[in-house]
């Protein structure tokens, strides 16, 4: 079943066309890879879906409803949550607090409840959800450390936890494997599979070919803002156009 449909999306920045008439569909429960050379428009596509940009033209349909041009927090409430390139965390907060921010949609409260402690049950539930996810991600024994003190692999796992506690339907992961050593990459791949098994659709922008080929069910290749090819990892690996544009010379 299609959960997210990108229909003829164009994004222009002044005279520069970053995305030109891009269309593809994402099925519920899959891990979709969005790949392409630098500047192909992958991150721009992400930002359009997550509401950080508004498409110049075209529609983005989530569960059949138009969502293009909505604010990021509205899109997050609908169930589409993105993670960021590099390690975007609340470095100055503890691991627990970082993940707790992720429970905002269910755990938010008003000033009066906050002052008089009327939201105790809600906050307790949020804290339990956080511990459940930190346990799942293998971070529970580090919960009182500052995010800035974590090693890179754990920081990425925490970034994933923040997104996970918000209980999304679709998770957009922007280069989660960048700068990782092979061991960390393997660990992250396991985590990503676990996330998907919990029923979350994953869209992945990534340069690490080992991770992309190993994880994704289906790939969409972008080049100069256009869809160059789509297919399973095997099909893409053998696609001449892709090899020419992207893998250049690799056999």
């Amino acid at each position: 079943m299609t959960i997210l449909e990108i229909k003829n999306v164009t994004k222009q920045f002044g005279g520069l066309t970053a995305l030109s008439d891009v269309s593809f569909q994402i099925d519920e429960g899959e891990i979709r890879g969005l790949i392409g050379p630098n500047g192909a428009g992958k991150s721009t596509m992400f930002k359009n879906i997550a509401g950080f940009y508004t498409p110049t033209n075209g529609n983005i349909l989530y569960q059949g409803k138009n969502i293009e041009g909505q604010k990021p927090h509205t899109i997050a409430e609908l169930g589409i949550v993105r993670t960021f390139q590099e390690t975007t965390l609340f470095q100055e907060m503890t691991v627990f607090e970082n993940a707790l921010v992720g429970t905002h949609i269910k755990g938010r409260t008003d000033v009066f409840s906050a002052i008089f402690g009327l939201d105790k049950n809600k906050q307790k539930a949020a804290g339990e959800k956080v511990m459940e996810v930190l346990e799942f991600m293998g971070l529970s024994d580090r919960k009182d450390q500052f995010a800035s003190e974590l090693p890179l692999g754990s920081q990425r796992a925490l970034a994933l936890s923040i997104a996970l506690v918000s209980e999304p339907k679709i998770m957009l992961m922007d280069e989660p494997f960048a700068g990782m050593n092979p061991e960390e990459t393997n660990h992250m791949m396991d985590l990503t599979r676990k996330v998907r098994e919990s029923g979350i659709t994953i869209v992945l922008v990534e340069h690490d070919m080992k991770a992309v080929m190993g994880l994704c069910h289906y790939l969409t290749v972008l080049n100069f803002g256009e869809v160059l090819a789509q297919g399973t990892p095997e099909e893409i690996r053998g696609n001449d156009k892709v090899i020419e544009a992207y893998l250049g010379g690799v056999k």
Partner: protein, 328 residues
């Protein structure tokens, strides 16, 4: 968000001593210093409410003027409708908050430096309204005739009862501010400060929370404004100029804005310091400038970080590592 209770035995003990001191204090002071103690108490509320605004990372230059909104509200209500202080204080807060609601729409389209400058411009615009609407606001010479209440035969014009009244109101406000900061709302405000896009990506409406901090901060500083005018009895637009705003900034920065009690330490320390350099009147601005520069250079986390640093030097216990002061 801190889940540990602050009501440990040690905290209660030191808190009791602290309260005993501040309650006994006015009885050991000269009249002039009793006045100062009241202003200091009001200023504590001013800096703490300002800190609430800065929690989201937005520093404004309109806080002094929002205090003025509260002051003028209390003055007008007292002079025209003869409302007692029990009504003017909450009304001052509400009107300041309401003005903040209106200002949110133009001001919070901006962030960071632009917000700083924009808030300054908006503040000056409000001050100009006070200056040019002579009929209502009395122009540059302002308004006078505000009096403190008389209740149960106690005349609050006397500094000692008025000090206790101020202390009670300020303490109540500080408890509310503390509760807000250490709640879910406070956590969200902090998260916007450190990484607004990440907070937005999990559903935080950053604009709404910036507005909330600004409105609540204005509400509390409006109360501070009303408390002040009922004691000094008059109000002029110049009380709330950039000069006073700069003092608020210095208090907050020198005290340290990372902790709830930092600005309180700042305002107390600098008020005492200010009294001690009274005889060097001409040199005062230079001395203040020097203090600010020295504090930024040597104590970027403010005076509140001194005990931690001392502990670290003498190796007493293991101190919790301070988070780095990087922004975005």
């Amino acid at each position: 968000m801190n889940n540990k209770s602050i009501l440990t035995r040690q905290n209660i003990f030191f808190g009791a001593i602290f309260f005993a001191i501040i309650i006994a204090m006015p009885h050991f002071l000269k009249f002039h210093h009793q006045d100062l103690l009241i202003f200091l108490t009001v200023n504590v509320l001013v800096v703490c409410s300002y800190r609430l605004v800065t929690l989201t990372g937005e520093w404004s230059l309109i806080h002094a003027v929002m205090m003025g909104v509260g002051t003028y509200t209390a003055t007008l209500l007292f002079n025209h409708y003869d409302l007692a202080m029990w009504f003017t204080i909450p009304m001052a807060g509400l009107v300041s908050g309401l003005v903040a609601v209106l200002l949110c729409f133009p001001l919070l389209r901006m962030t960071q430096f632009y917000f700083l400058i924009g808030s300054f411009a908006a503040g000056e615009a409000i001050r100009l309204i006070w200056i040019y609407h002579v009929g209502l606001f009395g122009g540059t010479s302002g308004l006078r005739g505000v009096e403190p209440p008389i209740l149960f035969g106690i005349d609050f014009l006397d500094p000692i009862p008025y000090y206790y009244l101020t202390l009670a109101v300020v303490t109540l406000c500080l408890i509310l501010l503390y509760r807000i900061e250490n709640s879910r709302v406070g956590l969200t405000l902090h998260s916007i400060h450190w990484k607004a896009p990440l907070a937005e990506s999990v559903g935080v409406n950053a604009w709404k929370y910036r507005a909330l901090a600004f409105i609540l901060g204005s509400f509390f500083v409006g109360i501070a404004g009303a408390l002040k005018v009922h004691y000094i009895g008059s109000v002029t637009p110049n009380q709330f100029g950039i000069g006073y705003m700069v003092f608020i900034l210095i208090w907050v920065i020198v005290g340290g804005y990372n902790k709830f009690y930092g600005p309180i330490i700042g305002v107390i320390a600098l008020t005492v310091f200010d009294e001690s350099i009274r005889s060097f009147e001409v040199l005062r601005p230079a001395i203040y400038g020097g203090v600010l520069i020295a504090s930024i250079l040597f104590l970027p986390l403010g005076l509140e970080s001194v005990p931690g640093k001392l502990k670290a030097w003498f190796g007493i216990g293991r101190t919790r590592q301070e988070p780095p002061l990087t922004d975005q």
